[in-house]
Symmetry: C2
């Protein structure tokens, strides 16, 4: 009996040690989501060429938060701190990670908040994530939360439950006026994105999103990035 | 101290209860992977039409096993038992589930074995799964294991470690002679699969796989099925 007792204790101690290690690693930021992958096609600009090179980025699951929700999750006075800059000026991946809780008693940990803070709280997930969590994700452009589901979000200092704002982001191309002029499109139009390679495909619906201060950047999610294996792409083309 | 002790015991008892519940549910088959999704386009056959309707199925992650590996995983004399028939005659989803262990100290539980048993053991995963597990998946047609990675697989009665056989299945269309004649292709050729809908796209490389006893069926994986949101497809077309 003493041996069995010792054996049980050891197992529990080991389990507790593992949990502690995972928590410690997470606190140190050693366990993080896979990095967003990025592909550039450096097409010459000027002289009839496009004003900006074609950049396609995979958006891994992430969140945007309001200042008030940030304080509930990370404590009074909490601010987003920069982990690294993103491609668009002023946008950044923060060091702050949260856990999303879904209705199937499943969680997704280490979901990164992208800054700066927004005037809405939103979770952008892939359909793979949605099926795992048990959330039927609507396809939306960021910020459009009409008839979208909510979820519970846990931070180190507190949890929030949002009633809406959980979406799959519709594929889109951020464009300045010069980019729209070059591709002869306007805000809200759709373009096609051709990805050649072993998993080649053509995304037929890439929505144009105009902002005066952006440069050309296509965002697809991890399902889309993995479906076409963006990393192994041999050629990319944005076309009407 | 007694209260804290009781409190600790309660927590452990609750944890153990939860684990037991999960195991019981799994044994009862109440926790299963998301079902493979299926879309049909019922095009009339005969009179110049295709010999078989266009059927596109999403293959969720799954395994094939040899009789010998099945016995290690499920005990001496173990046989695959049928959960449900698949679209191709003789193929079936078995009741047997295993756990795949990857190099990042992460596991994927409840991976279903598809029967009948094969003369090789193989795990077919999505890139999303591969990134999660830490396995760099090669793109292969089923059965081609040259220079493919392995993994550890746990069953209720034992574990195996395979040195090769972990792949992402290349998109493919199972075709009979009549199907190949209709689409004017031969074994190993590539076709395009057009999916219209809110997440519309064209898969440019769908490999033709001939077998005399199959009927037309396209297989894509969960990344691909989620990228195009196969469930919401309004039209599908297989074309050269």
């Amino acid at each position: 009996m003493a041996v069995m007792e010792a054996s049980r204790t050891l197992e529990r101690a080991e389990v507790e040690k593992l949990v502690r290690e995972v928590l410690t690693q997470r606190l140190r930021g050693q366990i993080t989501p896979p990095p967003a992958r990025e592909r550039h096609v450096m097409t010459p600009s000027g002289a009839g060429g496009p004003p900006h090179p074609l950049v396609v980025n995979v958006s891994a699951r992430h969140m945007h938060v309001t200042p008030a929700d940030l304080e509930v999750l990370f404590g009074p006075g909490a601010k987003l701190t920069k982990l690294k800059d993103l491609y668009q000026e002023g946008e950044f991946a923060s060091e702050q990670l949260v856990t999303i809780v879904g209705p199937r008693q499943r969680i997704i940990p280490s979901v990164r908040i992208l800054g700066p803070v927004r005037n809405y709280t939103q979770a952008e997930l892939s359909y793979t994530d949605g099926i795992y969590l048990g959330i039927d994700l609507p396809l939306r452009i960021s910020g459009n939360h009409e008839n979208t589901p909510g979820c519970t979000i846990m931070g180190p200092k507190g949890a929030i439950t949002i009633n809406q704002g959980v979406i799959r982001a519709e594929r889109h191309a951020h464009m300045s006026e010069a980019d729209m002029a070059y591709y002869a499109v306007k805000d809200g139009d759709y373009l096609k994105l051709r990805i050649d390679g072993p998993c080649g495909l053509i995304f037929n619906r890439v929505k144009v999103r105009y902002h005066p201060k952006v440069v050309l950047e296509v965002h697809i999610d991890t399902d889309e990035g993995n479906a076409c294996d963006l990393e192994s792409a041999t050629h990319m083309e944005l076309m009407k």
